[in-house]
Subunit: 222 residues, 2 copies
DNA sequence: GTCAAGTTTATTGTATACAAATACCACTGT
DNA sequence: ACAGTGGTATTTGTATACAATAAACTTGAC
């Protein structure tokens, strides 16, 4: 399926915004951006609409498009919701998971283990993402899975940051094991609790991280 | 704050789609719609982008915009997620609710009571919506509240339909009382359970409703 | 020197023009 | 009769032109 220019612009801009290439509150100049992407303003503005819908931009009528990075408060709120969604995925997955699905999840977890012993943060992040995505699908609720993925994408750089905290990768791996064990036993309550905690810990401890947070550090971590 | 044409088109189209003015899978003709709204294709297409982002349209490259009504399965999935979000709102609200917030919620509930005794379904729907919106805010998590509102809007006509089922309005009111009582006692667990059930019941029993569901009936109910 | 009003400039919002791709349809050949 | 082909018409995607509004600047009065 071929893609419109507007779509590729959207993807590119989304990644640029999420990874912090633009400062919070910065106004995106339509003409300059259009030149930069070698397109006219029309597809660019269509991309703006989509990005605004997902909260990455704020479109102020007659004033322009402003990038909106979540503040610390909104970030904690988003983690709180993410924890709930993942917990829900775990609860449902524990009841609905197939043998094949479990095998795939186990596979992703094993890749995580390998990345951990290699000390390869990038690989761990990648396989961790796969682990969670498989779990979303295992919930058997495609709408839930899609919402979870949407939110995961927005939290992406912040989840990634945390892996660089000393010991976090190992701790995360331990939590994965507990999640899998709950899934294997079909313990919905346990799966929910473990997953919620697995995400909530990231939100709750965020203030610590933010204390030493600044733009350049974040970009490096990403 | 004045509004762009694209915004008002988006609102109008959203309402038209949600209330079922277009059939599922129907292609929206840009030119005809532009004429109908007395605008050019440009603002219309910008509105399309936003509507596609919220799942109301599917934009197929080079083929057009197709309205996408949730099927019965997706609908049940959405109710399942809505139940979780509302339950979460209840849990948080029980811990964070202020006296003033509780008073407002009580106020909305009283209006519901009045609508119930008057047999006024429209008024009940309106005040019920206010009741739930106050609850979202009471969660103290603005991101959660905004997500809950988004999903509520999409489920709007289906929630509304249910009020026309014999006895549902009275039953709903009883659930509201239980929710308030849990909030008053600060019982987070109870508030979550009650609210989740309050929404889940709508999703779970949906198959019954759908058995006799058809387009014209739905439009009448809305 | 500062503030205010008016004018200029820049920027957003919308309409139109054009390009590119798809759908439609008649026609031909088997 | 039917599949395939070519050509036309329709429709989407993008560029550009124009209109409307807000920002920036100039000028003038106090």
């Amino acid at each position: 399926m071929e893609q419109r220019r507007a779509d590729s612009i959207r993807q590119t801009l989304e990644q640029l915004i999420i990874t912090g290439a633009f400062a919070d509150g910065e106004r995106l100049d339509e003409i300059r951006l259009a030149e930069r992407f070698s397109v006219s303003r029309t597809p660019l503005r269509e991309a703006f609409q989509t990005l605004a819908a997902s909260g990455l931009l704020e479109l102020v009528p007659r004033r322009g498009a402003y990038v909106r990075h979540p503040g610390i408060i909104e970030l904690v709120e988003m983690f709180e919701v993410m924890a709930e969604l993942e917990g829900m995925c775990g609860r449902l997955a524990a009841r609905r998971l197939t043998d094949d699905g479990l095998a795939q999840i186990n596979g992703a977890a094993e890749e995580c283990e390998k990345a951990l012993s290699d000390g390869d943060t990038d690989a761990y992040y990648r396989e961790n993402e796969r682990f969670h995505n498989l779990l979303y699908d295992a919930s058997g609720n495609t709408f839930l899975a899609s919402e979870a993925r949407k939110l995961q994408r927005r939290l992406q750089p912040f989840r990634r940051m945390q892996l660089h905290v000393r010991g976090r990768m190992k701790q995360s791996m331990g939590e994965h094991r507990a999640i899998i064990s709950a899934l294997e036993e079909g313990d919905a309550q346990m799966a929910e609790t473990e997953l919620r905690g697995h995400i909530a810990i990231q939100g709750e401890k965020f203030n610590d991280l933010m204390a030493q947070y600044n733009r350049s550090k974040m970009r490096k971590a990403v």
